[in-house]
Amino acid sequence: MKSSFPIFLAVFVALGASFGGFVVGGISQLGTEKQTTVLNSTDTYPLQRTGDATLGLQVYRAQGCAACHTTQVRQDGMTCDVVLMGAGKNLRAVQKVLGEIAPADKDLATNQLPKTIFSGVTKEVAGDNSDKLTGAGAKAEIHINATGADISRGWGIRQSVAEDFLWDYPVQLGSLRAGPDLANVGARYTMNLQLQHLYAPQSVDKNSAMPPFKYLFVVRKKINGELSPDALSLPKGIVPDDSEVIPTDDAKNLAAYLVSLRADVPLYDAPFTPTVSAPAEKK
């Protein structure tokens, strides 16, 4: 072959296809994403991060935290629980049904309610059994749970979805877990603990491999031997007794960002039944 036209064609066809699919398709589908509502609620999600947390994302980016931390929870599957909420008018009939579907609970008394009759079953099994219980006049609910190793580790309640990152620029998903996942770290660490962890990670978690970010803090002598209001309350032995550690604005913003990281409300695309009230109302 002598003409170079086929090479141009090949590149145009091949790269053009994936450009159309991933870049144009990705932008038109995910780049136009809007706020959504929390499942079974009128609360919008996600809310814009606060000003200091938005600045904190820039600190997170500048330090390259995403080199070691992911902010995405993976989900392997979903299971259902059937919870008997009330026995209704005819306890006998309910007990009879229970004897057929769950012999262990056949002597159920009303004061034991609500009680989980089945857990970790598929939607079909849960639906069938809950229908049988409702047929006997009982009140049964099906609870949806997201499952997976990340979720069992307590890194989240459900998987991360696009909405969780709606307001972020740059989106810091991360690709390596040299450190734990941070998608819900706001639910685990308070602001003060976060700052202490940034200054001296090993004082919070003895075996942590995280480098301390001391350059985000100022160590200075205590004024009149008193801690300033801004100073970290650290365990003894990290800094000399006559010194105190003052977080810089960067450290405060970063901690605010980390505290703002929580993606634990049910959404249509990541459904689950909250065991307690939705966290949006918990504040």
């Binding site: 090479i7 296809a17 991933f22 990705g26 780049g31 390259g64 080199a67 620029y169 989106v171």
Partner: protein, 476 residues
């Protein structure tokens, strides 16, 4: 081939590449050394976490991307352009057209790498994997690439021998590929950012198209040029090579979206299917390479032939690691572990750097018209690189699988998962040291060669300075 009277001598063609190639390779060698040194600095954090606690510029999250980008943008791409330019000139059987452009391009490119590295280390990176350099460096790198591409296309267009070589397909495609992906990714992520997780999708698309597809196009394109030369026989099956080319770019370009990413299911599903289909070009490339070199009576003795053979084999292996990462079940284990970095390092240093270094050692003697200053270093570097890669990639890949299996078991505390990988860093850091040592040998060869050449130019005086190409045209 028609032998016409104004046929240009081979040494003249080679000599025309001299200054552009020295500019491209000189900087590349420097960046390889600095990049590997920085990656050692980064890995020190795992041996002693509080080592750089007070130094923002050397914190792991900055040094690590800076080191990776130096190896990719500093070494791999300019060195690839150098080899590409020489192959174009040789295949066209003419001296480089517009030789000033690649020289200017090389300098702008290296300036862009300096700017980008400082941007990352000072904490101004964009935060996007493999795109950390930001606007300033983006403009410089893209301009440099355009200048280079003009000269490369002009050299290609003016070819005497009109028939396309297999390598032409791969290399021309690479020339078209880079500006498209680099400009598109920077436009949508840095210049005019899109909203939400679409950023991550574009970043994955870019990273895969650069690190997997682009490097494969150049590396395999160069290997398909050099392997028949070394083996002294034609490339096995021209059409199978074109088949490999088409399937590589059609399937390869859709890979790269990780399983379990927080994006709608069709994106990772498309990547999984494309990754499985990648097995087709891999089989084709393996078959062509083996059939071309098998039974050839050329001894390689740690020379360039060995480099290219090893590099091609490394391509197959690292691509298989890439495919494995996209498998639904295996990806669950190795996702977010050190297996990913192991694969990337293998792709960059095991496959690409080795193939390009092999090409470099082969072409540099001809381009400079003299022997290498330290010919033995070639062989030593080969073994240092192989040993270093086995330690680096092997330990990280095993650590990744172990880490992944422990992560899958929620009963194992996260600290125990991390500490299980610490032993691997002893091996991987040793591997990085060997690689650094090897890159020193490469740098020594090219810098001494450049110094000698410049010294020779000075010695032969003003006249030689005016016509440096003629002065060293006599082949030793």
């Amino acid at each position: 081939m028609n032998v016409n009277e104004n046929k240009i001598s081979v040494s003249e063609i080679d000599a025309s590449c001299r200054v552009p190639l020295l500019a491209l390779f000189g900087g590349a060698a420097l960046w390889l050394v600095i990049g590997l040194a920085l990656s050692i600095v980064a890995s020190l954090t795992f041996h002693k976490p509080d080592m750089f606690a007070n130094c923002a510029w050397l914190t792991y999250g900055r040094v690590q991307p800076a080191a990776n980008d130096l190896i990719l943008y500093g070494f791999c791409i300019p060195a690839a352009l150098g080899v590409m330019l020489w192959i174009f000139a040789r295949l066209s059987q003419i001296p480089i057209v517009l030789p000033l452009l690649p020289i200017v391009a090389a300098n702008i490119w290296h300036l862009g790498v300096v700017v980008g590295t400082l941007v990352i280390l000072s904490g101004n990176s964009t935060g996007f994997l493999w795109l950390e350099y930001g606007r300033g460096a983006f403009v410089l790198l893209l301009c440099a690439f355009f200048l280079f591409a003009i000269s490369a296309f002009a050299t290609f267009g003016a070819r005497h021998h009109r028939e396309l070589h297999v390598s032409h397909w791969f290399l021309i495609a690479a020339l078209l590929w880079f500006p498209w992906i680099y400009a598109a990714a920077n436009f949508f992520l840095v210049i005019c950012p899109v909203r939400g997780v679409a950023q991550a999708v574009i970043d994955w698309w870019f990273a895969n198209n650069l690190i997997f597809v682009w490097l494969a196009l150049v590396g395999i394109g160069a290997a398909f040029y050099f392997l028949p030369k070394f083996a002294g026989r034609p490339l096995h099956n021209h059409y199978l090579a074109l088949f490999a080319f088409w399937t590589l770019i059609i399937f390869g370009t859709w890979c790269g979206i990780p399983q379990g990413a927080p994006v709608p299911a069709w994106l990772p599903a498309a990547s999984t299917v494309a990754s499985a289909l990648l097995i087709i070009p891999l089989i084709a490339i393996a078959k062509i390479s083996v059939k071309t070199v098998y039974g050839a009576n050329t001894q390689c003795k740690g020379g360039p032939f060995c480099y290219i053979k090893f590099g091609t084999a490394a391509f197959i292996l690292s691509s298989l690691m890439l495919i494995a990462q996209a498998c639904p079940h295996f990806s669950r284990v190795v996702g977010f572990t050190w297996f990913g970095p192991a694969q990337t390092q293998f792709q960059l240093l095991g496959f690409f750097a080795i193939v390009i270094l092999g090409g470099f050692y082969e072409l540099m003697l001809r381009v400079m018209g003299c022997e290498l200053p330290y010919p033995k270093f070639v062989r030593v570097q080969h073994w240092l690189f192989i040993a270093g890669l086995v330690l680096l990639v092997g330990s990280l890949a095993v650590a990744g699988i172990v880490q992944g299996m422990k992560l899958e078991n929620p009963k194992i505390a996260f600290d125990d998962v991390s500490s299980a990988t610490l032993i691997a860093f002893r091996f991987s850091t040793t591997g990085q040291l060997l690689l650094l040592l090897g890159s020193f040998l490469f740098a020594a060869n090219i810098f001494v060669m450049t110094a000698r050449w410049k010294f020779g130019l000075l010695k032969s005086g003003w006249k030689a300075l005016n016509a440096p190409l003629q002065a060293s045209e006599v082949k030793s």
